[in-house]
Point group: D2
Chain length 346, copies 4
């Protein structure tokens, strides 16, 4: 049994992480922290933990935690993690950061989309924790940048095509749709029940911060700089992300050829489920699970591949992938504590 | 007061039409028909009409109706209308068809996406009833093909750009999202509450029948054949369509230039609301109304215009536009019986 | 055309009122006020008003308003109205208060459930504006206390039985369920989308402030003091209230006898719809309308009448009834500006 | 590892059961049956099982199953189970029936609410599988009648009070609210998405078949015949039941006294969570889990106890309790395969 701390446990990603860690056979959740609920019981914030957990929020003291636990999970607002993680801490403990601070290797790109970075030297030590792509690097680091929700779904949808010369890499459009948990637990008029319910909208059009994150990872595979168009939408449902990606082809390809590429690319991946030809993902089939479902289509009229990906944004898009990263770090089977049948209907 | 009949009044579009017609100052709904509920009270199918309407479903007899009423609205499954409308009927009565049978002028295109057409000679007499584009032709016909829901939203979103040479017309992608009323009142596992609720999916990927309808109208404006990619999605909400359209630019354009084009194009249109710069439509602001809201964005990184359109699929996307067409046909003010403030929150 | 002001136009009831007033043939909305959005456009708060209204929030100045308009509607938090309405104002203008301040005649009861009352002398001039019960008093007052949402539905459900000796008046239980608009537009974790969605709860059990309001009105009819049990629940939907009321019988009665009582009681009421025997109300059939639907049942096993009532909480439960009261005050037909077919599906 | 069969695996309860059994450490799901999908893959019906299960629906052959497996779970329409279970089968295999056929010991009561019973002699061997109440009998039977969803929640809410003389047992009203999964996967207009969404209704008022089931169990505890009033409501959400129960007191009692009774009654129960004083259950805190949450309130104005209970209807109200019964039958720890943290937000 290892000991873990969850720093920033009051949000939805933190809570989902604690749920998964409670059910993980090798883990003991010893500390949870929060800025706002210090000394309060966790089941006061999240009634689902009644009679299950006696955890109390404590103040965040990274020094102390680094002495006491084996892994620190950070679920903090963007810009905070890079100011609390230091090399000294990383010498003593592994850190899995669910925020954006260590996701983008190019500091200029990071700072143009986010804010000033608090620990640039650590950036090159951080590994982008999209397990299916970076497994080998993950096992050799002490600091993992756990990917964003939209990015996980988008990158897994597009990765297999990125090194193909017949793909028009300037043409990529990702039209993504997310449930409202993606917006977090903080109060805002846009996520007030009666405002978000029964309505759909696009938001942060042409300006969402997951754009450069997707681009950097896909560029790495492509071996060339990729610029793409990413549009997120808010959908009236609690969980789930569906990403519909459009990629123009420079030459005609059959659906079978495209399927072969994906089948080969993901043949050993437990958490990627390629749907049978003619079927496409729906978020209802992945909820509560770490799966990423992918469907493939070709529109021969416009010679375009349409890839549809679906994940549970709080699991594969956040907490589940964080656990998957932890499993890799400790040499456990990758699906340990994650091999749940998706719940349906929820 | 004119007399109208609604043929196919048991579905959602038919019901919404009857609601609007009941509140229309110049109209008397004298007959409703249905195949399955003959001799039953309408308020037995739709409890909202209790104490409001004593209408009884009767059998559809087009001959008889054409003698008795001034307009026949058809809300029938695709392929039926073209077999019940004849020139003789049109000599006696105006017909507004909410189905697809008369929407596509090119019979080969129609038959390749739908089924054999039942009255090809009438096709060239039918006018595509998208009022904002075809107002002048509408007033001079006796048979109007009321546009589809996705198509109304998509065409109004894209029309102002179609004759611009700097627009890459091969690049158009429309990613559309619809509420579940779009799927009608017929029972199907995919629209069973617990299957559709809390989930999003794409459907009929690269094969939805609204594709050729959008293409034909946009081609007419463009003066060249347009092929585009259209992907519909099912969203867990009752009403509303949001269409996110992507159009590549061949040269750089400012957002102000694009705004000017749309402002000019829609300057006299009561039912098109161009949102202030920086804002984008949300379906919650148009529900229960005949408005089409449009927002404009440019992604300068990929030199793409992103147009977002929103309508109430049952109003501007069906029944409301049918009433708007009727108003045009009878020379009434176009907004008669349609100038409602959208309901919120619903 | 009369001029009206809406004081407190930023909440849902205020907005619904403005929507109805905009569509009312005899009314001009000349002023809207708010504490927090002064000098802002109304369509900035409520996007449905884009291109429909140029209204700007102004500061609340009751003196000035009383000179300028014919009716002031107050949609204020409880406890505020009684401190801004004075006899001087009432000498110049009619006031329809959508809040609770003037609903309870017994000041001790009011102050034990709410707070200190700001204008006790006006209490006896105020008329409880449940139009179906108090029509005659309403036309003779200048200050109307518009009933609460739960109370409207509960009182209309129970009123016809209250003077019947065979009814056990100590046995009344009202189990009521409301959509989330009932909680208003103010941000709170309990109405955050992802907390309220997909869940139901009771709240303010045995302590909701609508209890004494229901009791006072029913006691008036009964001619004796009635104490009852009222439990509100929050349901994941935008609009609608369903109240399930249980009343024990002291002797056996047939369902026909009970129906006769309700039919007689409501025989001239346009906005009360008694459902056919064997049917019960559903909130979907009244949304967007001023109707109150009522269904009657007897459980012969326990000798209990079960009355089920349904309203749209924002219309008959707030803004619609306020308009109905205004119509009465000005001698207009009671349904003026209110005779809409309920929207479905919304 | 034992082998189990699920007969009637195509419905929601069957599916939830298979999900739980797949994750149960001691169980191998060897056979699933269905009348309508024979020879089809399970993941074709339920996409969540893609890559997880290769199960194929087979025909139901109870004789064969009784030779091959250790437990047969029946998830069949009411009236079917009593015609397929025989003493010969029970000699070879344990049966846990999720339907109603063996729940009511009094055959006259059963037949007056349901239909003719197919195997009356087995009725007295069947044990009502509400584990918290009947644990000792359960371990000694081969046929368990797994309780209904409403009944589980209602009985656990009321059981501790039933032997108290100061409780007015003629006064009990249960006002229950269920998510739509309770209505099953069969298509019906009332559970079509756009009909059930955004609306609440009561149904089967004074006539729901769970009434006699609740009465029989409570009567057993009370030592006298109990007749109560039960009203179910359909709520627009997928999962969850909330039961609000009203019980009049013959003498005054403090909330502390009532709490003591419940604390004592449930002190050893893992799956019953008594909420802290002043708090009441919400269905969001129990979803995906086998917990029953209970909150207690007293309305001193009417001297009534208000008990609020919440469960996940598919888990504690069906599949979870079936697994709990299996655990008891095999002498395993009662929470084996059931100790999940409730998922939130789902």
């Amino acid at each position: 049994m290892i000991k873990v701390a969850v720093v920033g446990a009051s949000g939805y990603a933190g809570q989902e992480l604690i749920r998964l860690l409670y059910q993980h056979p090798n883990v003991d959740v010893s500390t949870i922290t929060s800025r706002s609920n210090i000394n309060e019981r966790y089941d006061n914030s999240y009634g689902n933990y009644l009679k299950i957990s006696d955890l109390i929020f404590s103040e965040n003291d990274m020094e102390k935690l680094s002495e006491e636990v084996d892994v620190i999970f950070l679920a903090l607002p963007h810009g905070v993690a890079s100011n609390v993680v230091t090399q000294e801490i990383l010498n003593k403990v592994k850190v899995i950061d669910l925020g954006a601070d260590f996701r983008i290797r190019d500091v200029d790109v990071y700072e143009s989309w986010y804010t000033k970075h608090g620990s640039v030297p650590l950036l090159e030590k951080a590994v982008y924790g999209l397990c299916e792509l970076n497994r080998e690097e993950i096992v050799n680091t002490n600091i993992i940048a756990n990917p964003g929700c939209y990015t996980t779904c988008s990158i897994l949808s597009l990765a297999p095509l990125m090194d193909k010369s017949y793909v028009d890499k300037k043409s990529i459009v990702i039209d993504a749709k997310s449930g409202v948990t993606g917006a977090g637990r903080g109060l805002d008029l846009s996520t007030h029940y009666t405002e978000a319910n029964e309505s759909i909208k696009a938001y942060k059009v042409a300006s969402h911060r997951h754009t450069p994150e997707i681009e950097e990872q896909l560029s790495k595979i492509a071996g060339e700089g990729i610029r793409l168009l990413f549009t997120p939408h808010l959908v009236p449902m609690n969980r789930g992300i569906l990403a519909t990606s459009y990629v123009r082809l420079k030459e005609e390809k059959s659906i079978d050829e495209i399927y072969s590429i994906y089948e080969e690319f993901y043949k050993d991946e437990y958490f990627v489920r390629l749907l049978p030809k003619g079927k496409n993902p729906e978020t209802r089939w992945v909820k509560g699970s770490n799966y990423c479902d992918i469907g493939l289509n070709i529109d021969s009229r416009t010679n375009t591949i349409i890839i549809i990906g679906a994940i549970d944004n709080l699991v594969k898009g956040a907490a589940g992938q964080a656990v998957q990263n932890m499993n890799l770090l400790f040499g456990w089977e990758e699906k340990t504590g994650l091999d749940y049948v998706p719940l349906f209907p929820i």
